[in-house]
Symmetry: C2
Subunit: 369 residues, 2 copies
């Protein structure tokens, strides 16, 4: 079995996450019992990464039933698994109406969706959950187990998707390759295996030696903190660099390819990902280094024709001006802090999903190569 | 008179610097009395910036006479100024020989030169000092005032050069322009006025409104800490961004031009500057945004034909992996931390020096346009 990180789990009526703001110094499991606390965790990036956000959204809806219904302390969902964790559904208020429950879930859904506007997987997972609870159920007792099963399916399908994606991508890597990546796209960004970094993991599991170059990824340093941690944990050699050094590194000819994740992919292949991705794509193109996107197909937003239709989240100024407890810029400083940028499809060599490797012109309606 | 920051001065037998590692939170003047302490200050970037390093090197040679000769507590150089500060030279040991003094200065020179291999201004200033003390002096008492005068000339000429450079460069800016810059090239990087940022200052002094976009410039954050501080101090609006957001910003069409400094310029115009500069040049070129280098002509190294001949300093790993007191990457992480990169001349729109504005093909033997 391949190695999986317990990034996010639903256990004993709560969402359990690794608090990613505390890595790499502290490995802390955090139990989240309310939707408010979950939204806080998403906004403050205790849990982040497009696929992981999808799972968090789905689990958040379970949590809202758990925590928000009638103020009871008892829980309705236990460990969420294939069975939908229906054991305790019997304890649900007998007089509860499906229409009230649906209204409650709808309002929770919007609150969760608003936390991160760019990552389409969050929206996508919430819509999957909505398509379950909006069906014509005769009672909460029949609706709720189905909701639990759907949430678990989103989790477990992600694990399978990442694994399949990894295997497709690994075929692009050769023994001895060096892969430059940006932000964190490993197990911590998903159900536990990862997307772009999952490609590296799958190549290593297939017996190839791969060296990872990790952009530190300012402002929140997911590359230095999380990608390096995951590589060290798996004994994969990893070299961290500041984003400014990426051009210099690519110019030395020591990078075999760049692989990054995605937060949203438009129909034409234009890809929104962590800010700085576009810079790397431009630099890779200059040096003829292949530039790959790796993401589950749920990241493709068929409603969006091209990158100009993707909303870009602006994050708080103090993500840039404060590091730890220390202010690094004068108070009067303005800040430009978009969380994402858009890489035009013309700079992308291939997009790797669980369905295969797509090359230009990107036609996601077909099976990948 | 234009506004000048007391970045580095020779006062009462010591080198006085603003300790730049403590900005923007603390404005601290540090008095340096030994060559060892000066080398520490240079290596740890308490004083940095190519032109400022030249001055530091020259003053370091004075300091070596001051601190290292005969172990006396008295000092030979007072405030260094036009007069060469000869007042106390009479107190110099009567039996001192010029040849001994020269040997002492030679060994100090090599120690200082080794602190930062890329910045050519440091070497250039040290060679200027050497050409003075290697002349045929009849006594230390005649050599030393000339050495003091030369050091002061290096300082005061830099101030004049930066000002002239600023005026040449300011002609390239229009009222309402936005300038993207990298690292710190203001008064703190030079004698007190600056190079690339001096161009902005000169434009503002000429009545133009200019908005500065400052790359924070990892790993040592000179943009966020120093450039923002200098702009705020002069009430010039400044927006800080992470390097990763530069491509996104340039793509929005809100940047009129990029202006950066230089640590060494080859004969063909290839320019070594703070790592990340090359990335910006590539991005600026993609969007057709003019990319200017601003540096005193002493930055041009006529002995070097092109960028491949410029040695690139690698800096310690913990500059990247430790911020303040906090470790941000696992211990086992490798680090790629070059201090500089080289921007090929083909990406440079013009090079601004105190002699004028040079455009391709760069011929520095002629007067700039």
């Amino acid at each position: 079995m391949f190695d999986v990180i317990p990034t996010i789990r639903f256990r004993k009526g709560a969402v359990e996450i690794i608090d990613q703001t505390r890595l790499p110094l502290h490995y802390t499991l955090k139990r989240i019992r309310t939707v408010d606390a979950l939204c806080e965790a998403i906004r403050n990036l205790r849990i982040r990464g497009a696929p992981a956000l999808g799972i968090a959204g789905a689990y958040g809806l379970l949590l809202s039933v758990e925590a928000g219904w009638g103020g009871k302390k008892s829980f309705f969902f236990d460990d969420v698994d294939e069975a939908g964790s229906a054991e305790r559904i019997a304890g649900f208020p007998a007089d509860a109406r499906v229409s009230d429950l649906r209204r409650h879930l709808d309002s929770t859904l919007e609150a969760i969706r608003a936390t991160r506007p760019t990552a389409v997987n969050l929206s996508w997972a919430l819509e999957r959950m909505a398509s379950v609870y909006r069906r014509d159920w005769d009672s909460p007792a029949s609706l709720l187990p189905a909701l639990g099963r759907e949430a678990f399916a989103i989790f477990s399908e992600d694990l399978e998707m990442c694994r399949a994606l990894g295997v497709h991508g690994a075929a692009l890597l050769s023994d001895g390759d060096s892969v430059l990546t940006h932000c964190n796209t490993g197990g911590l960004a998903a159900s536990g295996y990862g997307t772009a970094l999952g490609v590296v993991f799958a190549a290593v599991e297939a017996g190839k030696h791969v060296h990872v170059y990790a952009d530190e990824t300012r402002p929140l340093l997911q590359g230095a903190r999380l990608t390096a941690w995951e590589c060290v944990r798996r004994r994969i050699p990893v070299t961290v660099l500041v984003e400014g050094a990426a051009g210099s590194l690519l110019g030395r000819g020591e990078v075999s390819c760049v692989i990054v994740g995605a937060d949203r992919i438009a129909r034409n292949g234009d890809t929104a990902n962590k800010v700085g991705t576009f810079n790397m794509a431009v630099l890779a193109s200059r040096f003829g280094v292949p530039f790959y996107i790796a993401a589950p197909s749920s990241t493709i937003d068929a409603r969006v024709a091209d990158g100009s239709g993707i909303p870009i989240e602006e994050r708080p100024a103090d993500e840039v001006t404060v590091i730890g407890e220390t202010r690094i810029a004068p108070e009067e400083t303005l800040v430009y802090n978009p969380a994402f940028d858009v890489t035009p499809h013309a700079l992308i060599t291939a997009i790797i999903t669980e369905k295969g490797v797509f090359r230009p012109p990107f036609d996601f309606s077909k099976e990948g190569g």
